[in-house]
């Protein structure tokens, strides 16, 4: 295989799946016949590059699907990237606390890394959102370029504003909502039925998520009631801490803790039960169950921050400490929660993979 062959294969790989094999074979045949016509192979490489750059990827003949379906597929990808940006951006608020110097530096480093990923994901998401809107409104060519430029300019403005404010994740909320509006408005998201699972396999897929939820909830409970109090007041026993809080008239926020524990316990028990219901027979795929499971884990961690708020403030008021997390398990659980929420987006949003089309006709 020559360098020209490799390049045109690579260029063809950038085309929509529907058109890829046709152009790859056509360009390879042209390369093979270039000598016969006395043409330079470089001109064919150039032709492939220009075609790839100028072809209207929203045209149904090129994409192999109606524009509304293409718009919805792009909108799903946009939703994934913008949603990831939102989760990681907002998640930064839950990584703080009053950690020791070394732990704080590590968590701050991780937090900065996640903010950079959120920034990049937001930028990619905006471009995909522009592509989705261009497909939705059939705005190829100059009109599409103007529309894309407007969306990207708006996105850049958002990002600049975000750099002036710590509320970066919140700023992508509107764009995320817009991506989903495209998906919902267009409606025709997924041709074909999802690949559903039989009841036994649905339960098998759901069970690990139930166990993980119970584990994460249990760890969160131990963090609120044991590890964080001990970390906040080194040298004191738990009995001394709780006695001191009671003597100072400070509560532990027990109602919130019990409510939160009830929620994640019920959720963990309900997940395999719900997926086993007959109504789920023709509806639930492995991806759907995984998305629900990851959301359950993420929501458990998200709720833990609120459940532990009363306890943290009670200790702070009774012993004149700070109210934030001191035990490293707090930010570690927050990271687990963010990872679970991003995983739920990855499981739920990408469109189904397209099968390559043979260059038959």
């Amino acid at each position: 295989m020559t360098a020209s062959d490799t390049i045109v294969r690579a260029v063809a790989a950038t085309l929509p799946v529907h058109s890829r094999s046709r152009y790859r074979e056509e360009w390879l045949a042209d390369l093979a016949g270039a000598d016969e016509l006395g043409l330079a192979r470089a001109t064919i490489v150039g032709g492939a590059l220009v075609t790839s750059a100028t072809i209207d990827r929203t045209d149904p003949h090129v994409s192999g699907m109606p524009r509304p379906v293409l718009a919805a597929r792009r909108g799903r990808w946009a939703g994934l990237f913008l949603g990831t940006s939102m989760v990681l951006g907002i998640g930064g608020f839950f990584l703080g606390g009053s950690l020791g110097t070394r732990d704080a530096a590590i968590i701050a480093g991780i937090g900065t890394g996640l903010q950079l990923i959120a920034f990049a994901a937001g930028a990619v998401g905006l471009l995909l959102l522009a592509a989705a809107l261009v497909a939705a409104f059939g705005a190829a060519g100059a009109r599409g370029l103007v529309m894309s430029a407007g969306i990207v300019a708006g996105g850049v403005l958002l990002i600049v504003l975000a750099m002036l404010s710590p509320v970066f994740g919140m700023l992508s909320l509107g764009a995320t909502a817009a991506a989903f509006v495209v998906v919902l408005a267009i409606g025709r998201t997924q041709p074909g039925a999802p690949s559903t699972l039989p009841r036994g396999r649905r339960i098998v897929v759901a069970l690990p998520f139930s166990l993980a939820t119970l584990a994460v909830g249990g760890l969160g409970l131990a963090h609120i009631l044991i590890w964080n109090p001990l970390a906040k007041l080194p040298g004191m026993t738990l009995d001394e801490i709780y006695a001191g809080m009671a003597a100072a008239g400070e509560g532990t926020g027990a109602v919130l803790i019990i409510a939160w524990t009830t929620c994640w316990t019920l959720g963990a028990v309900a997940l395999p039960v719900i997926v086993a219901l007959p109504v789920a027979d023709a509806r639930l795929s492995a991806r759907g169950i995984a998305a629900a499971g990851f959301i359950l884990i993420g929501a458990t961690v998200f709720g833990q921050w609120f459940a532990g708020f009363g306890m943290g403030m009670g200790i702070a008021d009774a012993f004149m400490t700070t109210g934030g997390d001191t035990a490293l398990t707090g930010p570690m659980l927050a990271l687990v929660g963010q990872a679970a929420l991003v995983a739920s987006l990855v499981a739920a949003l990408p469109p189904r993979r397209l099968q390559p089309v043979a260059a038959g006709s």
Binding site: E25, E26, A29, A32, A34, A48, L49, T51, I55
Partner: protein, 99 residues
Amino acid sequence: MDALSRMTPATADVLDALLSSGSVWGLRIVKTTGRPAGSVYPILERLERAGWVASVWEDDPARSGPRRRLYELTTDGRAAAQASLGRLRSSATGREATA
């Protein structure tokens, strides 16, 4: 069939090459017109998408490896190409006469 948004000299050359042949290999149009593939390939893609041109794979059992793509004007495309080139030539003749 869709109207072309623009009729460039390169597009006219490609249409001319298609009119003077039946079913023709895409790369041969590059050779005939003397224009780079970077011009001809996108024009063929645009003409095909607009319905002026249809393309099929060459059916030549004697040749192994990847198949060549053959292009041909559709019935409507042939009529439209003749009309477009006719207009171009008459306007060019008019400009020469004026000059």
